[in-house]
Symmetry: C2
Subunit: 204 residues, 2 copies
C-alpha cells in the first residue's frame, strides 16, 4: 500500500471515530461500529489501531493538530497579537468543550484514564507554548508589547489558561456542565487575555 | 467549663496536632500521641475531636484563619496594593507548602480525601476572594488601579493563583517536590502579580 493511500484510510477512520465519539461518547462507541461506518472489516481496523483507547488518542491528536494548524494560519493574517491571543483562547475553549463532550457519558473513565493521557497533554502544552511564543514575538515586533523573556511569558500564559480549565473540571460535575458554565469560563479567558495584554503592552 | 478555658484547650490541642502533623505527616500521627503531648487523656481529646481527620480539618482551618488575619493587618499598613498582592502570593505559597508537607508521606490519602476537603477549600476560596477584593479596592482608592468590576477581578485573580497551584499538584509527584519546584511556582506567582497589576493600573 502506498503511503498516500494509508494516510487516506487513517483519515477516514479518524473521521468516523470522531463522529461516533462526539455523538455517543467513548464508553458507548465500539470498534465494530466504527468499522461498519466506513465499510471496513474489524480486522482491518485493528491493523491500524490496537484498541479503542488507541484510536481515541489518535482522534484527539488529530483534532489538536488541526487546531494548531488553524491557529498558525492566523499568525500572518494581519491580526494584532491581542486578537491572536483572544482568538486562541476562544478556540482552545471550543477544543476543550469537544473533548469533554466526548467523555460526557463516563465521568469515571476520565479520571481513570488521566494518567494515560498525561504525556499526550504535556505534548499539547509544549506545542501551545510554542504557538503563544510566536504570538508574543509578533506583538513585540508590532510594538504592541514591550520586550520581555518571551519563553517565560508564553509558559505563564499557557499555564494560566490551563489552570482556569483545571479549576473548572475539578469543581464541576461533568454530567451537568451547562452552556452557561462554558460561557463563564470563556469570560474568564477574555478578561485574562485583556489584562495580560495590557500588562505587557508598550508604554505609549 | 467556661468558654475561655475551652478555647485555650482547643488551642493547645491544635498546636500539638500541628507540630506532629508537620513533623510526621497525617498518616503517621495518632490521636494517642497528640493526647500524650499535652498530657491529656485520649477520652478527653475525643471529646473535642471525633477523629483524626476532624482534628486535621480543624488544624487547617485554624492555620487559614491565622493566614487571613495576618493578611488583614497588612491592609492598613501603608503598603501599596501591588505590594499587598505580591505579599499575599508569597504567603499563600508558604501556606500551600505547609499543607503539602503535612501530607508528604501519603500521596494516596491526599487524593482519597480530596472530596471531603472540597467544601472547606471552597470556603477558603471565598474568603480569599474577599481579601483580594479589599486589596483591589485599596488600589483603586490609591489611584494605583483604574476602576473595574472588583468582584469579578478578585475572583479571576484567586482563580489564576489557584489554577497555577493545581497545575503544580497535578503535574508533580508529591513525594519528590523539591525546594526548586516551589521556587518555580513562586516565580510564576510573582510574574502573574506584576503583569496583573500593570494590566489594571491607572493610565498615568
Amino acid at each position: 500500500m502506498v503511503n498516500n493511500e494509508k494516510t487516506e484510510i487513517v483519515e477516514s477512520i479518524l473521521q468516523a471515530a470522531k463522529a461516533r465519539l462526539v455523538a455517543y461518547g467513548l464508553d458507548k462507541t465500539t470498534m465494530n461500529e466504527i468499522a461498519d461506518d466506513i465499510g471496513m472489516s474489524k480486522a482491518s481496523l485493528y491493523y491500524y489501531f490496537t484498541n479503542k483507547e488507541d484510536l481515541f488518542r489518535a482522534v484527539i491528536q488529530h483534532e489538536h493538530k488541526h487546531f494548531l494548524e488553524e491557529q498558525n494560519t492566523y499568525l500572518n493574517s494581519g491580526l494584532s497579537a491581542y486578537q491572536l491571543l483572544q482568538n486562541y483562547a476562544d478556540e482552545r475553549l471550543k477544543f476543550f468543550q469537544d473533548l469533554l463532550n466526548i467523555n460526557k457519558l463516563n465521568l469515571h473513565l476520565i479520571h481513570k484514564s488521566k494518567p494515560a493521557f498525561a504525556p499526550l497533554f504535556e505534548v499539547f502544552r509544549q506545542k501551545e507554548i510554542l504557538l503563544v511564543h510566536q504570538m508574543l514575538e509578533h506583538g513585540i515586533q508590532n510594538k504592541e508589547f514591550h520586550f520581555f523573556d518571551v519563553r517565560q511569558y508564553a509558559e505563564l500564559f499557557i499555564d494560566l489558561i490551563q489552570g482556569l480549565r483545571r479549576n473548572f473540571t475539578l469543581k464541576k460535575d461533568f454530567i451537568n456542565i451547562s452552556q452557561e458554565d462554558y460561557q463563564m469560563l470563556g469570560r474568564q479567558y477574555h478578561l485574562l487575555v485583556q489584562i495580560f495584554c495590557t500588562g505587557i503592552k508598550c508604554p505609549s
